[in-house]
Amino acid sequence: MTHPVHKDDFGAKLGMWLFLFTELLLFGGLFLLYAAYLHRYPREFAAAGKELDWMLGTANTVILLTSSLCAAMSVTAVQRGDNRRALGLLGGTILCAAGFLAIKYVEWGAKFGHGIYPGSERLRGGAPGESVFFSLYFMTTGIHGLHVLIGGGLLAWIATRVRAGRVAAGNHVLLENGALYWHLVDLVWIFIFPLYYLVL
């Protein structure tokens, strides 16, 4: 009893969109805490927020937006049957992901150097709101960073499939879903960036 392989690109994308909902809600919990604690400690949040480097934050925003552009363009390239170009663009996305993480490493490293990390002496001794701000900052950017890592890995795996010709025009839902996931990673950052680096 052999049946033709069931194939439903629309269904696959529907599943991905549902999964993206769950990711939004995951970060939603952290944003909820941000809102509640900002309401309680507006001054401490403002003071602590000034310690974040908005230049690095802006650089990372530009990098992520570029990476999303590359991902979207690689989908178009595959649709047009140009797998080589798609591969190059995916490489660009992955490079951007690596750049983002490198900058994040520098940022975190500088904070650690100043004795700012969850449970550190400095935060234990400081104002209560400051500790809350930085704990939230590290949790949110940490979990986001993990998503960058996972998304980058996912796209790298998809790139091997593009290279092998397993993903090609008319059969590219895997790449589309990978790009969708990457856009989500980007989107979450678009919320993190102003909330932590700009508005305070």
């Binding site: 069931h6 599943g15 549902l18 769950t22 995951l26 919990g29 209560p128 590290f138």
Partner: protein
Amino acid sequence: MTVSDHPRGGFWSDTGRSGLGSWIFSTDHKRIGLLYLFATFGFFLVGVVLGLLLKFELMTPGRTIMGAEAYNAVFTVHGVTMIFLFILPGFPGAFGNLVMPIQVGARDVAFPRLNLLSWWLYMGGALIVLTSLFTGNGPPDTGWTFYVPFSARTGTNVSLAVFGVFIIGFSAILTGLNFITTIHRLRAEGMTWGRLTLFTWSLYATAWVQILATPILAITLVLIMAERMLGTGLFDPGRGGDPLMYQHLFWIYSHPAVYIMILPAMGAISDIIPVFSRKPVFGYKMIAFSSIAIAAAGSLVWGHHMFTSGMSDRAVLVFSFLTFIVAIPSAIKVFNWVSTLYKGSISLEAPMLFALSFIILFSIGGLTGLILGAAATDVHVHDTQFVVGHFHYVMFGGTGFAFFAAMHYWLPKFFGRRYREKPAVIAWALMFIGFNILYFTMKVLGMKGMPRRYYDYLPEFATLNLVSTIGSWILAVGLVIMLVNLIRGLLRGEPFEGNPWGGATLEWSIPTPPPTENFAREPVVTHGPYDFTAMKE
């Protein structure tokens, strides 16, 4: 051919593979469904044993068999096992997988491999939870709610248990998105939304709750682990955090999770009652709509778990009001079931008996829920045995009895053999009686002021506690009889063929047990799920 070598057939043998590997790596929704059934029901039995131990401890005042700390650990593990390992994954995982794809006329779920991954994640998470009981500094003793600040400070193995639950959450999310995609994309020709079975409708609503609520649990559990391992202090009042925020996050998930537990049960009841009343279901559209309404309204009422936690009075009022709104769609369901029975040709067989007792027990549980939902009365009974009685009526009397109804209704279809009717009825009667003795006395005890989660109590509560413990034994005896009868029947009982109960839903139109492909040809649906007259023609 004697009864015992009646071949099982269908999906049990038509792939030609039958080893363990052909099960635990199968992407067939029926095999995965049975895997879920065995696993979840196994954990249910573990939970039952722990529950019996708890009741045994409460038989007499003072120490009976265990001290305070052991009691804390046992009620925590009882709760975690029953909720995260049995009741949340149980109905969607077991019966959702077994029945839903057939009911919509599909060959399998939308993502069969993802479905298998869900089961593996569930088993992995369950294994981690089990490991947490026997390693580190002993099993968690926080209660299944993992409330801070205690969960952040206790030396017991909370982090590992929480991590296991986190993994199980992934499994629930994947099952949810799989089911939603299946119901949207894989309905057979003619299977309009208005012809879906009510069980499928309820799974659809459940799946949305699984998707929308579970991520909040995930982040909450991550924060607990961070609190313990990194010292983030986000819920530590000493460092500017607020334990109340933890409770909010926890119940934003965990109250909707109550509807993950009860909605599929309501769906199964909505499928069983018309069949055994020989009458189309009354108010199909309203039952389907009320599933969605319960899912939606139920997501906005989490605060009623926190009336005495120090929320503002305004928040208490709003949450209390919203809680009462959930009662409306719940009552719609009950009224529609009762109206379906009205002038029906009722046949009191085992599935129907369990279904009818579901209505009674769920109604008692639901109505006592309103006492807890009203802010004024809640303050009086908060954190007493009354609460324990209430949610056991809903969860065990509701979902548990519906699970038993579903086992008696659908399992013969998948095993091709049936249980004996008389022991099933005796088991049902014992369980129904034992259940009410066990949990109704708890409600009375709570009204009299006996708090929950203590291994000891004042002498004035002694008589009722003894009665309650005896009830737990009657319930256990009934459960054992039911189980033995089911296992014997499904493995060696009379052959079960055709459509003896006259169900009009699609699963009764295919061979017993169903073949791996479900349908020889893709079905074309021409009548509704409870249109018994169309079926006769």
